[in-house]
Each structure stands twice: as structure tokens, then as C-alpha cells.
Amino acid sequence: MYRIVEKQVLSDVTKLMVVEAPQIARKARAGQFIIVLMHDKGERIPLTIADYDRDAGTITMIFQEVGKSTMQMGTMEVGDEFKTIVGPLGHPTEIESYGKVMCVGGGVGIAPVYPIARELKEAGNYVISVIGARTKELLLWEDKMRAVSDELIVTTDDGSHGRKALVTVPIKEILEAQPGQIAKIWAIGPAIMMKFVAATTKPFNVPTVVSLNTIMVDGTGMCGGCRVLTEEGAKFVCVDGPEFDAQTVDWNSLLSRMAFYRSEEAEAVERWRNTHQCKLTGAVAKGAE
């Protein structure tokens, strides 16, 4: 169960995996997420669904190696199995015919924005996509995004590909150039990026939806660890979200909560490197503990 059938190394730290999960593939819709657990000693990690193939019974996930668990996941290969994948969780994106819409993806956030852009396009919307990353190396799925967008703007922080800018720059230009024409915006990426996208779109009064990826344990409403402060009080990202109106989110509270386990994360990474990474070559040993 939950066998990896395809693996792509998108960058040194970004991996794509296609995994057998027929029940999830059958139900998955844009905007939803899964929880994965590698092994008996592992932790449950929420990941957005980047794509799904109902006929093949597979789902696609893309992750960045930022902590011990994702580093270990990066060492898994085709044929390896996850102990648990559960989903699809959270509310799907509300896909309608809105007219002209914008889809913004930053870093690995491009992956979950892709199915949203695709479904919006299929629903008859004119889709303008803005995707960005720190460097060209970290930019993913440019071709796939181009295929489902009427217009595509690419940015990198260092200018190594596309325009040298943060995603907020073209967003602002488009909103200024086409006043009142963009019906809705979806933005997915690092929390700090989403915070600034929210600030950018606010003066234009364009409904802006963000997809939050907070700390979770079960992902089904049981622990409440994922709660986020909104204007309507505390909400659970796992069952009330993961999508929220960007203007109602208390971003400072969110950013502070996401850093809560930072010291433990650093400790786990250190331990992982000491036990699995070759000190001479940097090569990483494969994962079973």
C-alpha cells in the first residue's frame, strides 16, 4: 500500500513523488491535502495534493526538504512504501466561473496551485498565473503552469530566470493595470509570501484566498494544533480550511505558531545528519531507522 511508483528530483531539496493511493485519488479535488507517515517512528506530516490520476489510482506530492522527516522522505525511492497516507482532507477549492482570476505560487507552493489553476481554467476562467522562487533551480512546473494559464509570469528573487522580482511586484502591476477586472486571487507559498500577497491585494479589494500549511498532528480536527486566528476567532486549518480569506488571517500569530517547534526541528535535523550523512561527501544514507 502507498507504494512510490515515480520519483523526480526537481532540485537538490525539492522532490516529486507519485504514490499509489487509489481511494484518495478517486476523491481528491484541487485545494485538498493529505497526511503522510513514513514509518512506525515517524511523524504525521500534512502535504498538499499537487496532482492526482483517478484512472491510475495515484496522487502526486511535491515537498521541500526542510526538516528531518522531509529529508528522510527524500531518500525514499520507487518501490518504497509509506506506512500511512490519509485523505483527501480539508475543503476543496470553490471552483466557479468567476471571469478573470489570478493564481500565485511561490516555491513548492506552485505544486498545490497547479490543480487549482487547471480546474479554474476548465471551468472557463481566464487564468493569469504568477509563479516565483528564490532561484531558477527552485522553480518548478513552469511548463505545466503555462499549459493551464492564459498568461504566465515567472519571477526569481535573484533574477536567474524570468523577472528579477518578488511575486508581489507583478501582482500589483496587474491589479493597477486592470482595475476591477480580476475577480479572485489564489496564493500559495511560504507563509511570509502569503502575508505580503495579502497586503498587496488589500487596497484593491480583490478577494484573495490563501492555503495554509500549519503544524498538524492528526489532520482531522482532533488536536487543534493547526488553529489560526482569523477575524471570526480561532479556526482549525485542517477542517475549516486549508483555504482562508487572506485578509482575515492574523499573520503574525500564524508565523509565530509555525516557529513553535523550531529548536526541536533543529535538534532532529542535527541528529539525522550525524547518523545518516557522510561527513566527507555529504551523501545521505537511505532511511530505515
Partner: protein
């Protein structure tokens, strides 16, 4: 052993169960109560008067033949004791540990009128543990009826219902949302009260013997819906419990360091956070922890906190403080007396008649203190308990760096996505007939916390048992909907 007279039996004192000493146990997550030896079990069994009209059984929600199994233990026939037990209760090692016997079977024991009741729970646990070691009893599956039943959830209500239905010959599939079966038994109750190995062994034994299929990672409402299950099964039992945590509506609940007891206990128990970093899930422990509430979940949270503080400290001694903050007085504490005793022995500090009104953070968004107000008891409320009333001007600040909310839970609404005609109360619980467990949706039964709100393991088991009996009657055509 020679037969004793009634008088002689009544002279035997109630046998204490060996326990880890408070000073030792607070440094580890091993089981606190170590269980009877055969000798102790038989000695305790000698105390039973074998009443002609036993009252103890009336106090047992699953109607175990208590005097009979105690008699079997007394005579040393453990195989027979197991057989009698498993006729009604397939999870004796679990129930022997977590049932509140003092308000159930033992509260009715005739010996309790003048002295101390027979320690039924401890003998039950001994029988359960014996069977886990020796596997003497093969519970059998009845002749196949060809009927398919979906059981949603794998906590006490669901497990009991599933086992009874399988014994009656129905094909049972359990759908569990987490990666391990057991529900609240695995995510809520700590290792030191109910070891995971005991739960796993009891569930695996029953599932194997009865060919019950357990599908983990199935979130009903998302992975599959009730409507979809209904299309493929002849009956559905909903035993999804009350898993949604409640938070106080006060300022500061989103600060770092404030968490639900569910999150804290799930990290510690299910995910084994106390063994971080060997296990990947971290759990934070403060120097001064306040647990809000005084139910069993609050006691579990406080006692886990003490242990985590000991594990963290360099010299292995508990470092820091753990407080139970409760707005009512000691008389209203809802937790089992035994749990309160254990918590007190281990060093938990109780702040009664105290209610938080605000949680205060530092400049980094972490908990720094809690503003509380003193309470006094006023008139009895709807629950019959004297309701706490704030004392004007009594506000004070309590320095804390972690706040665990153990205020109760309500049913998880996910399961009700695409669930035809399932009616719910305004508290979010499922409306079901108390005797039969029938809901307002044809072919769907419910029982346990999802119907009653958070209650006890054994009452959930009783509901599972009653529902199984009614499902059986319905599937056999003896009773129409």
C-alpha cells in the same frame, strides 16, 4: 484451599495491588499499577460472598457474570474464568485498567456496605492479563449470515460492537481514521495507565479470531462517506467518539504554549513524543504547566507533564511545577478518585475555585502568565452541582509557560459529510435510541461518546453491545426498522 465460612471471608482484607512508588514512577512512562499475582487474585477472590442475587452485575454495563468468574479464579481455574469473562467482555485487560469500577460493579458489592467491596476490577485485569499471556480461549465466529456491517471508528464502542456482530456470524469491517486502531484508548489514555501493547494484543486477538477486517487511514466523511458505506453494507455502526477539543473563549488561546489536551496527549501517547528524537514527533513541556479542568483527561495531562519534566531534567528528578486549575471545589471534581490520588501523590498541585480569564503572552507570542479569578460556590446548576461564581476584585496573575486545555470534547463533524438523514442534537451528538442505538437514518446505529458526549470506556462498550444485539435482530429479519 479449604472452603471458608462467610465470616472468615469477610475477615480477609481487600488486597492492595502492587504499584510503582510515586517517586519512581514519575520518572518513567511505565505502568503505574503492576497487577495482582495469582496468589493475590485468589486471595481477593476468596472475599466474594457469592451472593444468590448478586448486585454487582447490575452495575456492569456489559453484564459480565461477575460472581462466576470470581469463583473460577478462586478455585484456580483460570481457563474457565477467561471463558466466562469473554462471554460478555472481550477486552478485560483494557476494562480492568480503565473502568471506573468504584461507581459501577464495586459500588453495588454487598461487602462495601460495611467495609470495602471486592476488588472486581483488579481480578478482572488479572484474568485479562492471564489470557494475553496464555491464549486459552478461542472465541468462535458464528455460522456466516452473509450480512456485511461497517463499523466506523475503533474505540471501545466500535470494538465491542464489532466483536459481538462477528460472533453472531456477520462480516464486519472496521474503518479507523488514524494509523492505529483503538481510538481514545491509544491517543488519549497514557502508557502508564494502559500500555499500548495491551491494547494492541487485545484488539489483534479478537480481530484475528473473528476475521474482523480493520482498515486504518479511512476518514469517513472524506475518504469514504456514510452514504457510500450504506450502499455497500447491510448495516452501519457509528462509534466515532468525541474527538473535537474545546477551547476557552478567552484572550490569548492562540499563543505558543497553549494547546488542547487532545494535542498534548496525542503527541505523547499515539506519537510517542516522550521518546523524541528517537520518535519524530516532538512535544513541548513547560517549567510551569497549568492544566485547565479536572476530569480524567486533565489528570492524564498533568501526570504526563510531570513525567516529561523528569525526563527533561538532568538529574532525573521532576523540575518545575504542574498545576490543575479548576473553577469548582474538590467535591465537584469529575475525575476518578484513584486518578486524583495518583496525581496528588506524584506532586501535581491543585488550584481549586480558580478560573482563567486571560492568557498573557510575551513579546515573542509565547505564554508568560495566566490571569485568573477566584470563584465561590453559588446555587446548584442544571447538573445539580453548585455553580461557581466569580469573586469580584479577586483577579491575580499566575506565572505559567504552558497551558493545556482539558475542558471536554465534542463529536467530530467530519463523519457527517454526506450522511443522508443523520439527525444531530445542538451539541453535535448523534440522536440515537438509548436502548437500541438506532439513529434517524435507516440502517445506521450509533453508540458511545458520539451519542452521549465524552463519557466512560465501559458505558461506550455497553452501547456498542446493545447496538450489536439490535443490529443482529434487524439483519435476521426479527425486527423491522
Amino acid at each position: 484451599m479449604a472452603e471458608l465460612t462467610k465470616k472468615e471471608r469477610m475477615k480477609i482484607p481487600r488486597q492492595d495491588m502492587p504499584v510503582q512508588k510515586a517517586d519512581d514512577r514519575v520518572k518513567n512512562f511505565n505502568e503505574v499499577a503492576l497487577g495482582f499475582t495469582l496468589e493475590l487474585a485468589r486471595k481477593e477472590a476468596e472475599r466474594c460472598l457469592q451472593c444468590k442475587e448478586p448486585k454487582c452485575m447490575e452495575g456492569c454495563p456489559v453484564e459480565v457474570s461477575i460472581p462466576e468468574f470470581i469463583e473460577a479464579v478462586r478455585s484456580g481455574d483460570m481457563t474457565e474464568a477467561v471463558r466466562i469473562m469473554k462471554d460478555k467482555n472481550n477486552l478485560p485487560a483494557i476494562c480492568g485498567r480503565v473502568c471506573p469500577q468504584e461507581v459501577q460493579c464495586e459500588s453495588r458489592c454487598i461487602l462495601g456496605k460495611k467495609g470495602e467491596p471486592v476488588a472486581i476490577g483488579r481480578i478482572e485485569r488479572f484474568v485479562g492479563d492471564f489470557e494475553l499471556d496464555c491464549s486459552t480461549c478461542q472465541i468462535g465466529r458464528g455460522p456466516s449470515t452473509g450480512k456485511k456491517v461497517a463499523v466506523v471508528g475503533s474505540g471501545p464502542a466500535s470494538l465491542t460492537c464489532a466483536v459481538d456482530l462477528a460472533r453472531m456470524g456477520h462480516d464486519v469491517t472496521i474503518f479507523e481514521s488514524l494509523h492505529t486502531p483503538g481510538g481514545v484508548l491509544v491517543y488519549g489514555i497514557p502508557e502508564f495507565r494502559l500500555p499500548k501493547a495491551v491494547i494492541r494484543a487485545e484488539i489483534e486477538t479478537a480481530a484475528k479470531a473473528l476475521a474482523i477486517e480493520i482498515l486504518t487511514d479511512h476518514v469517513i466523511g472524506r475518504t469514504l462517506t456514510i452514504d457510500e458505506l450504506a450502499a455497500e453494507h447491510d448495516a452501519i455502526f457509528l462509534g466515532t467518539g468525541a474527538g473535537l477539543p474545546m477551547f476557552m473563549r478567552i484572550p490569548g488561546i492562540n499563543l505558543n504554549g497553549v494547546m488542547s489536551a487532545n494535542e498534548f496527549l496525542t503527541r505523547v501517547n499515539l506519537m510517542r513524543g516522550y521518546q523524541f528524537p528517537e520518535f519524530d514527533t516532538p512535544v513541548k513541556i513547560g517549567n510551569k504547566v497549568a492544566v485547565i479542568g479536572a476530569g480524567n483527561v486533565a489528570m492524564d495531562s498533568a501526570r504526563c507533564s510531570l513525567r516529561l519534566q523528569s525526563l527533561r531534567s538532568k538529574n532525573g528528578q521532576p523540575e518545575g511545577e504542574v498545576h490543575i486549575v479548576y473553577r469548582r471545589s474538590p467535591a465537584e471534581v469529575p475525575a476518578r478518585l484513584e486518578e486524583v490520588h495518583h496525581a496528588q501523590e506524584e506532586g501535581v498541585i491543585f488550584d481549586f475555585l480558580t478560573n482563567p480569564v486571560e492568557i498573557i503572552g510575551d513579546e515573542k507570542g509565547a505564554v508568560r502568565a495566566m490571569r485568573c479569578i477566584r470563584m465561590e460556590l453559588g446555587e446548584p446548576d442544571a447538573s445539580g452541582r453548585r455553580s461557581p461564581v466569580p469573586i469580584k476584585g479577586s483577579e491575580f496573575e499566575m506565572e505559567v509557560d504552558q497551558v493545556i486545555m482539558a475542558l471536554g470534547t465534542s463529536p467530530n463533524p467530519l463523519v457527517f459529510i454526506n450522511a443522508g438523514g443523520l439527525e444531530r442534537s445542538r451539541h453535535g451528538t448523534v440522536v440515537a435510541n438509548q436502548e437500541t442505538g438506532r439513529t434517524t437514518m435507516k440502517g445506521v446505529w450509533a453508540g458511545g461518546d458520539v451519542v452521549t458526549g465524552a463519557a466512560t470506556v465501559i458505558s461506550a462498550m455497553g452501547a456498542g453491545k446493545r447496538a450489536a444485539a439490535d443490529i443482529d435482530r434487524y439483519l435476521k429479519g426479527e425486527s423491522s426498522w
